[in-house]
């Protein structure tokens, strides 16, 4: 009887947390104005997002044991993020282009890549994250590391210019009229690798 109550209590808490995480994701999309709902909903969605954040302990300090306990459980159960994949709309994708400048004046254009298809999918996932404002503090570090991974294979490269941007694919009608994808740079960094190596 006691074990049944424990199971029932766990069931309720577990799905309460899943509900909170999922609706936090939905409210966030509405608050950002990413949905086709009228803008009047955004204010309410923002308030609701705060409530779900409170429920998940995200309003507490980072060292708060309740916050840490909830976060650990969510990650352990794989329920730390909602299920709004490919929703509500599919934005453009992101591309990191690297211009490699050699000592002899040659310039080569490459992108960081992985050998397996599954791993390549993960790299795209990383690039999409980099565009997110929440990842702004680590953006330069990550781009530098990606550039460094390319440089390891080509140690004779003198300088790398990394350009990160959004690729907007054409709609189906535009594609039929011959329009192709366009690239809008978001930011770029120059890395002088020889100097770094000397240091």
């Amino acid at each position: 009887m006691i074990s049944k109550r424990i199971y029932a209590a766990w069931f309720v808490i577990h799905f309460f947390l899943i509900t909170a995480v999922c609706f936090a994701g939905i409210f966030s999309l509405i608050a950002e104005g990413a949905t086709m709902l009228p803008s009047a909903f955004q204010r309410y969605a923002r308030k609701s997002e705060l409530i779900t954040a409170f429920v998940l302990g995200k309003e507490a300090t980072a060292s708060n044991p309740i916050r840490r306990g909830i976060a650990t459980y969510l990650h352990a159960a794989g329920i730390q993020s909602g299920y709004s994949f490919f929703a509500p709309n599919i934005p453009g994708y992101h591309r990191l282009g690297l211009e490699l400048y050699y000592a002899d004046g040659r310039v080569e254009y490459v992108s960081p890549h992985l050998s397996g298809r599954a791993a390549a999918l993960r790299l795209d996932s990383l690039l999409d994250r980099l565009a997110d404002n929440r990842y702004e503090p680590i953006r330069e570090v990550v781009v530098k590391m990606l550039a460094f991974s390319v440089w390891r294979d080509r140690p004779e490269v003198k300088k790398i210019r990394a350009t990160f941007g959004t690729v907007s694919p054409p709609g189906i009608g535009d594609f039929e009229h011959g329009k192709r994808e366009s690239f809008q740079p978001m930011f770029s960094y120059d890395f002088s690798l020889r100097e770094k190596e000397k240091r």
Partner: protein, 321 residues
């Protein structure tokens, strides 16, 4: 090298040109290459593992990560590369053991732990399939093991434990899948692109999912809105129609077909496989005969017979058994 042997070498079939040593090197590169590249620390990998782990630690330092294993290996004077290779090999072995049903409980716990370590350490590279795998392994680890079809039970004669709990854990998975599709469907319905087919066009034409040529897609442009709306309705309707006996098989086939199509058309094979396995585990057993699971529970029977009942009918208490 003279010209004659060069011609002879070129005429050899491609596969025969490699020596066993080269084959072995290529095999190792194939098996471990991306794993090491993704999880190596500073200066060796694509992006240092430590960055992903630092972000995870911000959420909670108690979340398992590969650095724990690397630190543990350090005490035994085992290098990082060796620890990563061992972790990969262990994960593969645990997967095989789980497929066979051998040493089910320890295999499930180790598989969950190693997968969680990898998923959290590579959090920057993570996508939906990782979360679903963690969830699946989490439920599996807590479920009553071994299963009646496992080699643990058949060969090693390990007794089945708490067969009635199997129904509870299956119900947990069923409810979870309903959440997944309801939220997914709701979020899609809120985007205009799923109603006019433009989201389907964008998802099928963006790299790395662009396996189908856009020229072919253009030919079926009138089908895209229908398919987009169908996806919304299938996902949103899942938590309702999957419980109704008459519509269960149809809805399950629709959702499985949707995942198979995603896997084949977008190259998301792992994601498709994980979702198909989870759906079959939740609603696949006994769906074809249309028999209510509660009927089997009511019929009672031996522990082994009851272990066959791996779910409860809608409305029945998940804790009864």
């Amino acid at each position: 090298m003279s010209e004659a042997p060069q011609i002879a070498l070129n005429s050899l079939p491609f596969a025969l040109r490699f020596t066993p040593r080269r084959w072995w090197t290529r095999l190792l590169a194939f098996l471990f290459g991306d794993w090491h590249y993704l999880f190596a620390s500073t200066g060796k990998g694509l992006v240092t593992r430590k960055l992903g782990e630092a972000i995870t630690s911000f959420d909670s330092p108690l979340i398992p990560k590969l650095s724990w294993l690397v630190a543990l290996g350090g005490y035994a004077h085992v290098g990082e590369d060796a620890v990563l290779s061992i972790a990969w090999a262990c994960l593969l072995c645990m997967g095989v053991l789980l497929l066979l049903g051998l040493f089910s409980r320890p295999a499930a716990i180790i598989a969950w732990f190693l997968h969680l370590c990898a998923a959290e350490s590579g959090g920057l590279f993570a996508y939906g399939a990782d979360n679903f795998m963690t969830t699946g392994l989490f439920y599996l680890m807590l479920s009553p093991l071994p299963d009646r079809y496992s080699l643990d039970h058949r060969l090693l004669k390990v007794e089945l434990r708490d067969p009635q709990l199997l129904g509870f854990w299956r119900r947990v998975l069923q409810v979870h899948m309903c959440f997944v599709y309801f939220i997914g469907g709701l979020a899609k319905c809120l985007g205009s692109g799923w109603w006019d087919g433009s989201n389907l066009w964008r998802s099928l034409t963006r790299p790395p999912f662009n396996l189908i040529s856009p020229e072919i897609l253009v030919r079926f442009k009138y089908a895209l809105p229908i398919l987009g709306i169908s996806i919304c309705l299938i996902e949103l309707g899942y938590p309702f129609f999957i419980w109704i006996k008459k519509t269960r098989l149809f809805w399950l086939v629709c959702i499985l077909a949707m995942h198979a199509a995603i896997g084949l058309a977008m190259g998301m094979y792992l994601f498709a496989l994980v979702m198909i396995v989870l759906n079959l585990a939740a609603f696949g057993i006994g769906v074809s005969d249309g028999q209510s699971v509660s009927t089997q529970v009511m019929a009672g029977g031996s522990a082994e017979e009851r272990s066959n009942v791996s779910g409860l009918a809608p409305g029945a208490s998940p804790l009864s058994g």
